[in-house]
Symmetry: C2
Subunit: 327 residues, 2 copies
């Protein structure tokens, strides 16, 4: 198992990538890593380094990335996978650029090759993980694309979380079928007709249903999905800010805080995106994992671990099969 | 000051309405209430009762509500305001029906009379309250409508929170102006041109910015606004579920939990929608407050208190003036 890591992706690159890579290989004796970047050194005998002089930034427009910067760390890392020298790629860089490059270098076979990939991410919730698709790739998808995201999300949930027939909901502004937009209403009709062995379609779900255990997979457009994902990250951090302030307000509260600190750390750990392991770019031929730009070493190591799991379970191939079947 | 309360609105009506009304008049000696409903009794000398035999349910379609059920508690309560016998109305009922009836019975004067109202709600955040508009009334608004929501949200923030020149952001899936949908990009251009004395337009904001204190007012369509609002409610409840589970896991954690309970209750109180006071239907001639269907007595009392504040500050009139000025 060999995974290519774009070492120049994260906001603080290459520090988090170097530390995260070392942690990942030390934890998994079957793992080899190829770090791609400039001024990167190997710190373990299962880490190799491939030089790349250029770096793609958040400011680079995906369309320009395709033509310009062919020597970027992201180009080289994806090319390692396209040419069979690595099994998967991880990058904490510009997600639009990752999508554009991966779609061209790692196309699906057959009629699916023209489909635009989607981003799958997992939200932690008290009743178990919830799969969100699309989390940002398709801002204004058509109804058929939303139906495709259901097939992708259900396949991910089955393969990664082991839920045999995932419950799929379509995110809307109310449960009644009269709610939603023209696009969600048409997608609702498509999904109701496709309900079957691959997944069980439960209809519209609301934002609050993300955390109540009524659904395993939530389907939405990439605009709403991105807003929901970042809202969750923001409110989790905001709430912990409020908790910290209150627990520091009186001497008694500070004493109690010292006692409950391990319990609260467990909660923080459960809702921490750095533990969730990065998002999957679904609808390409090999696993492509997009980590958060703000990733630290823990988040990078976690994204590498996810990529290894996805390779071991042939996630990309099985999602491709689910897409072909649902077409 | 006299406020009409639809006593048949909430999921558990009329219990929460009766208890909430009593609590509100006891807390405010200048307040009179008119409870509208069936089988409702006055429990205070500043509470009057008006009988209404019918009740609008969540299943009633707003368009049908207009023609059918003219004797409903919501019709009668809004009519009390339209005929000057009350200054504002509060309902925890079907928000689409509230909007449809209020738009017809309480129209704005002049050219604004044709505009569809918007829902304004307030999200609690560590750095201070954040105003969200539209929180659910306009599912697919045009760019000019989004620009109008900025004028509404800024007026609300100035009048209710006292921030002289609110910072307004447009919710999107990234900060770069190339992000968003065709509609948000056009609204972005409109808002950039209107930046001035009424508000300062800070550009696109992301979901995480709702809680970081970089913005006072967040503008979005009613689909996304509803999803964000319910996601916030859901994650807050979900996180408290996780915290409760961890604090109950060991004897030591239970001891610490007993000590920090008041501090955690303070946090729960700060993020509790029942304390926030209901949403404002903006763009009608008098204050119309929509409380959550799941409202308890605390939430109803809080919504009544909000309505009283809105009347005292002439919020509806001043939002109408801001709309006329921004047109």
């Amino acid at each position: 198992m060999r995974i290519a890591l774009d070492a120049m992706g994260s906001d603080e690159a290459p520090g988090p990538e170097l530390a995260g890579a070392r942690r990942a290989v030390e934890a998994d004796p079957a793992l080899e890593l190829v770090l791609v970047g400039d001024g990167v050194v190997a710190t373990h005998d299962r880490i190799r380094v491939v030089h790349a002089a250029e770096r793609i930034t958040a400011a680079d427009h995906p369309a320009q990335v395709l033509r310009g910067k062919p020597g970027s760390s992201l180009h080289v890392a994806i090319d390692l996978v396209a040419t069979g020298r690595a099994d998967a790629v991880v990058s904490a860089g510009n997600s639009g650029a990752v999508l554009a490059l991966a779609k061209i270098a790692l196309p699906l076979a057959g009629p699916s090759s023209s489909l635009r990939p989607a981003i799958v991410t997992v939200l932690p919730a008290p009743a178990g993980p919830v799969v969100l698709c699309d989390a940002g790739a398709n801002v204004e998808p058509r109804p058929a694309a939303l139906a495709r995201f259901a097939a992708i999300g259900a396949a991910y949930d089955r393969i990664v979380h082991g839920r045999a027939c995932p419950r799929v909901g379509l995110l809307a502004n109310g449960k009644e079928p009269s709610k939603g937009t023209a696009v969600t209403r048409e997608a609702h009709a498509l999904l109701a007709a496709r309900d079957g062995n691959a997944f069980r379609y439960v209809g519209y779900v609301e934002g609050s249903d993300l955390f109540t255990g009524v659904v395993d997979v939530v389907v939405t457009d990439g605009f709403t999905g991105n807003v929901v994902l970042k809202t969750c990250e923001g409110i989790a951090e905001g709430m912990f800010g409020l908790v910290r302030r209150e627990l520091d307000a009186t001497p008694l509260a500070r004493l109690g805080a010292a006692i409950v600190a391990p319990a609260l750390r467990n909660v923080a750990h459960q809702i921490d995106y750095t533990e969730v392991g990065g998002a999957l770019l679904a609808g390409v031929a090999r696993p492509v994992v997009i980590a958060h730009g703000r990733s630290d070493a823990t988040a990078i190591a976690s994204a590498i671990r996810s990529a290894a799991t996805f390779v071991a379970r042939d996630l990309a191939g099985r999602i491709a099969a689910a897409l072909a079947e649902s077409a």
